[in-house]
């Protein structure tokens, strides 16, 4: 066996091992105790299935109760609507819009999502196969995926980290974990240009809270390739859609929240740092889950325009607070954790604000960025087999950055450099603000260090250190470099 063949053999074995664990499931294997999160004996599950070990605030319970009451009242209307969806919706679009913004009863969310994401229509197309005793597209893709998907290791890794605080996903190889694995593996086969990208596991897990396995597969497919959502372009190598939407987000900020934009730039907080996660998982784990669901409902109704509108809404609602923060750390912590734990506004309030944002943006023709180019959509027909590269088969990182990848890196660097340039101007003119700048420390030397570093000009520190140390080396050749430098510092201090 050649070396490559041996590596391929090992990669295959690893894949088979992972597949086996998911196919036999939790009951038929020993799962190490540390594989599952331990919530202790006292925990509470909220209405969406998430586990909380801390006592939830009373108002949370109260709010849940109230919501449930309102939902029961609304459920009747919704039930009627869902039953007659195909007839009702085209004639009553306004009513549908109004009702979705008001809030979908959680019990009917499943039916509504199935309708909005055209799951049933896609599955109907399968019926012919089933009638002819052929396995459904989903099952065929799944079986192929078990054998050939190069994404299995990554998918397995991500399932291990996905919603482990949710009752469905907390146990390793639980039924829902099995389903999550299957849907992602099958989809990585069905849409091989996309394969699998982090973020998709979170999206699929949310779908699986409401839908079954095969339904989730088709719902995921709609979100990826339907022009209304087109998340395919968000996840593929080079992230063309992400880049387009980030640029648009910046445009919106410049127009509507210039002061905040300036403040964020000043802290060197490029929007890629917070928007990437917002867009990739449609705000999951960045805002409370109850609000996520409301945003998802609106997203399914309105499509991709909800992404920039919601990003704008979050910033608008929290602008005053964000403006008060004195450093980048506080702002990112606010984005990453605080807003998820407590958004500070009721879900209804936020959804109203979102609606207002959408009309505001539409009025200025800023509700959507310039249209996508063809590279954001699948080129091959879905279900087409594309031979993976040998590195992919072996599960190794490819050593060379593709042109697309290089362009993205350059683009992200240019973005932050533009912020950096602003920073330099501020640096010179507004000395009193300097302590607030994240890149600038409270002491002048650090600032110099940083600016040398980021501009990549001037003699780099390493060169100056090395030149000293190399000269120093002539005195004391045997010592290793780092120790030398240490000694220089010591001696210069004396």
């Amino acid at each position: 066996m050649t070396e490559i063949e041996e590596q391929l053999f090992q990669a295959n074995q690893e894949r088979e091992k992972i597949v086996l664990k998911y196919t036999i499931g939790r009951k038929n294997q020993l799962v190490d105790y540390w594989e599952d999160p331990d919530f202790g004996l006292h925990y509470k599950t909220d209405r969406y299935g998430f586990i909380h070990t801390e006592d939830l605030p009373k108002e949370f319970d109260e709010q849940e109760k109230k919501e449930k009451e309102i939902e029961i009242q609304r459920a009747q209307k919704w039930l009627k609507m869902v039953k007659n969806w195909e007839k009702f919706v085209p004639l009553n679009r306004e009513k549908l819009y109004r009702r979705i913004y008001k809030g979908v009863p959680d019990k009917l969310r499943r039916n509504i999502w199935l309708k909005m994401l055209k799951v049933e229509t896609q599955m109907k197309a399968n019926e012919e196969d089933l009638a002819n005793n052929k396995p459904s597209v989903y099952n065929r893709m799944l079986q192929l995926g078990y054998k050939y998907s190069t994404e299995i290791r990554q998918i397995d890794n991500d399932i291990n980290r996905c919603f482990r605080d949710h009752e469905y996903f907390r146990e390793r190889y639980s039924t829902k974990q099995q389903q999550l694995f299957n849907v992602l593996v099958a989809y990585s086969m069905y849409n091989m240009e996309l394969g699998y990208c982090q973020g998709m596991s979170t999206i699929t897990a949310v779908l699986l809270i409401y839908l079954n396995e095969e339904e989730s597969f088709w719902a995921l497919n709609t979100l990826m390739v339907d022009k209304k959502y087109a998340m395919h372009g968000l996840y593929i190598v080079g992230f063309p859609k992400l880049m387009r939407f980030l640029a648009h987000h910046d445009r919106i900020l410049t127009k509507f929240l210039p002061k905040l934009k300036k403040a964020l730039d000043k802290h060197n907080l490029d929007s890629v740092l917070y928007c990437l996660k917002w867009f990739f998982v449609i705000f999951v784990e960045r805002i409370p889950f109850s609000l996520v669901l409301r945003v998802w409902d609106v997203f399914m109704l309105e499509g991709e325009r909800v992404l920039p509108a919601m990003a704008y809404t979050i910033l608008k609602l929290h602008a005053n607070k964000l403006l008060k923060f004195k450093d980048m750390d506080s702002i990112t912590e606010y984005f990453q954790y605080k807003l998820h734990k407590n958004f500070g506004y009721s879900d209804n309030y936020v959804i109203n604000a979102l609606q207002t944002s959408m009309s505001e943006l539409r009025a200025k023709k800023l509700d959507l960025p310039p249209p996508a180019e063809s590279n954001e959509f699948p080129k091959c027909e879905l279900g087409t087999f594309i031979e993976p590269s040998i590195e992919k088969k072996l599960g190794l990182r490819s050593s060379i950055f593709s042109e697309t990848e290089k362009n993205v890196t350059d683009l992200v660097i240019t973005r932050s450099e533009e912020n950096g340039n602003d920073l330099d101007i501020i640096d010179e003119n507004q000395d009193d603000n300097i302590s607030n700048l994240n890149t600038a420390g409270s002491t002048t030397p650090i600032r110099r260090f940083k600016s040398m570093n980021s501009l990549n000009t001037a003699t780099s520190i390493a060169t100056s250190v090395n030149s000293i140390s190399s000269e120093f080396n002539q005195n004391d050749v045997d010592d290793d470099i780092s120790e030398n430098e240490y000694e220089i510092v010591e001696s210069t201090r004396l």
Binding site: L273, E285, Q336, T409, S416, T443, K450, A462
Partner: protein
């Protein structure tokens, strides 16, 4: 409070998927508590911690990057302004150690050339499943000039986690003091050049 520091260092964590980068960050941030389970890091997560070395307050910015290859075009843009890089591998997965070469290539293409790196072998509590020995790591360390030291950590047992950051911060602090002195104090600069020229003349 947060502005009350003498040094600010930006440290980026890189390494293959699931080697425990985010666990190391959390452990470092929370000290003795290890309860959080991690979600996958999409793109880059940012956090920070203040530490004290000697009589200096040091603020460490932690840039925790996604290990998923697809994100490298984005994460690599964050290496550029880093002062220090922790290259993390999993001692129970040889593959993650073998990726080192590729991580180095990425570092070399995208960082400033003064960046310092440390090689961190995480999950050292799982001794029975070990696939990479410390000696192997040390050998690599000697061959690669950017890597200052290697260390095995366990984010789970809280072994060496703080140590890893302290060592890299110390090193950066020393270098920075060196530069500060070089630029800001003529006396010291003179003194230094004198000693160096003495050396040369000998």
């Amino acid at each position: 409070m947060s502005e009350d520091f003498d040094f600010l260092f930006k440290i980026v964590l890189i390494g293959d998927v699931s080697v425990g980068k985010s666990c190391i960050v959390t452990r470092f941030k929370t000290g003795n508590v290890f309860t959080e389970r991690h979600t996958n890091t999409i793109g880059v997560d940012f956090s920070m911690k203040n530490i004290r070395i000697g009589n200096k307050n040091i603020k460490i910015q932690l840039w925790d990057t996604a290990g998923h290859e697809r994100f490298r075009s984005i994460t690599s843009s964050y290496y550029r302004s880093a002062h220090g890089v922790l290259i993390v591998y999993d001692i129970t997965k040889k593959n993650t150690f073998l990726s080192l070469q590729k991580w180095l290539t990425e570092i070399r293409s995208y960082t400033a050339n003064n960046v310092i790196c440390a090689l961190i072998g995480n999950k050292c509590d799982l001794t029975e499943e070990r696939e990479v020995t410390l000696d192997e790591a040390k050998q690599v360390c000697e061959l690669v000039p950017e890597i200052l030291f290697c260390l095995e950590t366990s984010a789970k047992d809280n072994t060496n986690v703080e140590n890893a950051f302290t060592r890299i911060a110390e090193e950066l602090m020393n270098r920075q003091s060196c530069i500060n002195d070089d630029h800001d104090s003529n006396n010291i600069k003179l003194g230094q050049s004198k000693s160096v020229s003495n050396g040369c003349n000998c």
